[in-house]
Symmetry: C2
Subunit: 140 residues, 2 copies
DNA sequence: ATTTTATTGCAAGTCTCTTGCAAAAACAAA
DNA sequence: TTTGTTTTTGCAAGAGACTTGCAATAAAAT
């Protein structure tokens, strides 16, 4: 079960499974969109889960450190979003400029490009962002 | 001459060529790195040009609206950077995680990818970011 | 030179995210 | 199951990037 293995991951780094961490994890599990800290906060408030926005920030950071959650910085959003990794591979996103819906792009076409860049620039390439915006079918 | 044509661009939108706009433009012209607002502010201060940080923000926004400057949001920097367009085509960047140096990647490999994404997601793709980080030759 | 209108600087405000600290909650040990 | 230790939480406050309101100033038009 997910929660048990996560608890072990937390405890192996001297951390504890708490009411708030459970709530954030459960929300991310059932929401199939990357959520921002303030969205997590608002949604949990609505569900009568008592949690502070500060705790949301601390929680997503812990989950990120444990490798359970990925932090996304989408194009010109001015805030980060978080999504559960859950065994999924590295991928990118497109966000609708009108309704804000975010769709996964289940591919990363940058392996060849990375090699080309390393050759041309002599950099050792580490990480990258690639995020798209556009208009979704409903909003066109 | 650059300044004259920029002045015309400004005036055709009811704007004026001012001391501070000249200073920001001149700095961007002679600096071959994308600069953040606070870097522009600090550099001009050093050159004894009296300018407020607020004015820097307003200036880069005007230059962006006129299409003279491109705003960059590099990977996990938490601030925007600005570079002169100067007839250059759309391109991407790689930033050294150690020294912060930014190198242009004189290519955009995403035309084919854009078409694929439109086909798969039914989105109309608008804009995108693609930014890399890594270690430059000197910092490896 | 004078008038009009855009621009500037300052102060204050917004937004996202972080930090300090005492109180509360989780876990461990008895 | 109570006690003790250590982490986590909530609250208040702070940091950093960026924006807005407004009176004073500067650019352009007349």
């Amino acid at each position: 079960m997910l929660e048990t293995s996560i608890k072990e991951g937390l405890q192996s780094t001297g951390r504890r499974m708490t009411r708030t961490r459970k709530a954030v994890l459960a929300l991310l599990e059932r929401t199939h969109q990357p959520l921002s800290a303030s969205e997590i906060f608002a949604q949990l408030q609505e569900e009568q889960v008592a949690i502070d926005l500060v705790t949301v920030y601390r929680t997503v950071n812990v989950l990120k450190e444990l490798g359970l959650v990925v932090q996304l910085d989408l194009y010109q959003e001015g805030q980060s979003r978080y999504e559960l990794k859950e065994g999924r591979t590295h991928h990118h996103h497109i966000r609708c400029q009108i309704c804000g819906r975010i769709v996964d792009l289940l591919l990363c076409p940058l392996k060849k490009l990375t090699k080309l860049i390393e050759k041309r620039t002599q950099f050792v390439v580490g990480d990258h962002t690639l995020e798209f915006t556009g208009f979704c079918p409903k909003c066109q």
